[in-house]
Amino acid sequence: MRDKEFDKYLEGNSELSRLYHDAAQLRPSPEVDDAILAEARRALKPRAQAISSPFASNWTVPLSLAAILVLSVGVVLFVTDESGVNKPTESGADLSIMEKPVGKKSIGADKQYQPRKRKAAPAGKFDLKDGRAQQLKQQPVSASGTLKSRSIADTESVSPALNKAAETKPASKKSVGGSDAQYRRARQTKEERSNTTSQGVASDIAPAVPEKKLKKQDEALLEKIRKLRKAARHKEADKYLEVFRKRYPEYPLDKTITR
């Protein structure tokens, strides 16, 4: 074959090429066509899903890091806050309370105020061991007690350990109920004491009963002062008034007595 003929073939439009393309009509089978086009379609689907997904691979790593960071900071802050709250309770007087659990020794003689678990005792009927408690045991507790005038001084006079326990114990429902019952009982004990003593000697005893409940002898005393005022015997009246004031310093008196 000459180079000229070959160059003409390479330029195209040769008779050989034309005849070949007229003859070559073969095509792949339709099944192969379908398989290839289906594969091309299938290959694009995961890619489209990955792009449309809100948690595509581009998002997962930064999102995970952000979540870990937020959780870590949250835990650190929480732990810091917790340690800050616990610090005061772990120091000073509170620490001594923690070291002495509320038991027989810490309450001491006032352990009788702890309600028993083996019996559901009715209100005001605790099993008390000392003499005062025995006395209380015999006297029912009035529901209409004098809780309005309840003060820290009263409770301290009854039981310092009780006050301590009331300060340190958490205000759970059970402990609150127990404290109220204990307070009522202590209050009543104090009233009883003052009553028994005031019946004997009228002087040198601080008034523990309310002002409205004057004893008959005191009412007689007031009546006597009033008569002395009317009779213009003021010196004697002042003397009796002084005695009365010692008993009832804040009892309201009218002008016929005070002059």
């Binding site: 074959m1 003929e5 070959f6 073939y9 390479l10 008779e15 050989l16 090429s17 005849l19 070949y20 393309h21 007229d22 003859a23 070559a24 073969l26 095509r27 792949p28 089978s29 192969v32 066509d33 398989a35 290839i36 086009l37 594969e39 091309a40 379609r41 290959a43 694009l44 890619r47 489209a48």
Partner: protein
């Protein structure tokens, strides 16, 4: 219009998710690629299988596709590699025609055949004869001819596609064209 876009643009569009671009690309090249395999294997079933393998490989490799050469060169390079695998699996070696000096050894034979008397044949007979001659060509020469006719590759592109130098590619094609012309009296 996708049908007027170059092959390279269609392949990039398919890489980026346009399914229709692939359909256009496939319809352009499915016939030529099928015939490339068909004439090399002389078996429609094998040709269909090889064709499917090549397109599947193209689909899997789409994300790595970069326009560094003509798409046709890229496609037929894949086809050539698959064909070489096919030959090696079938006979554990490449056909003799793929040896470097095969065309030189056969040159005399072709020249001898050119001494045949002039026989005028009608066009149909010419076509049948042509296809017979294509089928009768040695594999390497036939491949060069098919790459030229079916894919429209230049000598340089045929050389790149088949992994040989340009002279070898030219020699193979020249041998194929000369033999067909003489045997088919074109």
């Amino acid at each position: 219009m996708l049908s007027k876009q170059p092959d390279e643009d269609l392949m990039i569009e398919y890489r980026d998710g346009n399914e229709h671009a692939f359909t256009v690309l496939y319809s352009r090249h499915k016939g030529g690629l099928f015939r490339y395999f068909y004439y090399q294997c002389s078996n429609a079933s094998d040709a269909n299988e090889l064709l499917q393998d090549v397109w599947f490989n193209l689909i899997r490799a789409r994300e790595r596709y970069q326009v560094s050469a003509k798409f046709t060169t890229y496609l037929y390079r894949l086809a050539h590699n698959r064909l070489v695998d096919y030959y090696r699996r079938k006979s554990n070696s490449l056909p003799v025609s793929y040896s470097d000096n095969y065309e030189a050894d056969c040159e005399t034979l072709v020249a001898d055949n050119s001494a045949d008397p002039e026989i005028h044949m009608d066009i149909k007979k010419q076509i049948d004869k042509l296809l017979e001659q294509v089928d009768a060509l040695p594999e390497a020469q036939r491949e060069a001819f098919l790459l030229r006719e079916e894919a429209g590759l230049s000598l340089e592109e045929i050389a790149v596609t088949t992994g040989v130098n340009v002279e070898t590619a030219k020699s193979r094609l020249r041998y194929a064209v000369s033999k067909i012309r003489k045997q088919a009296q074109i």
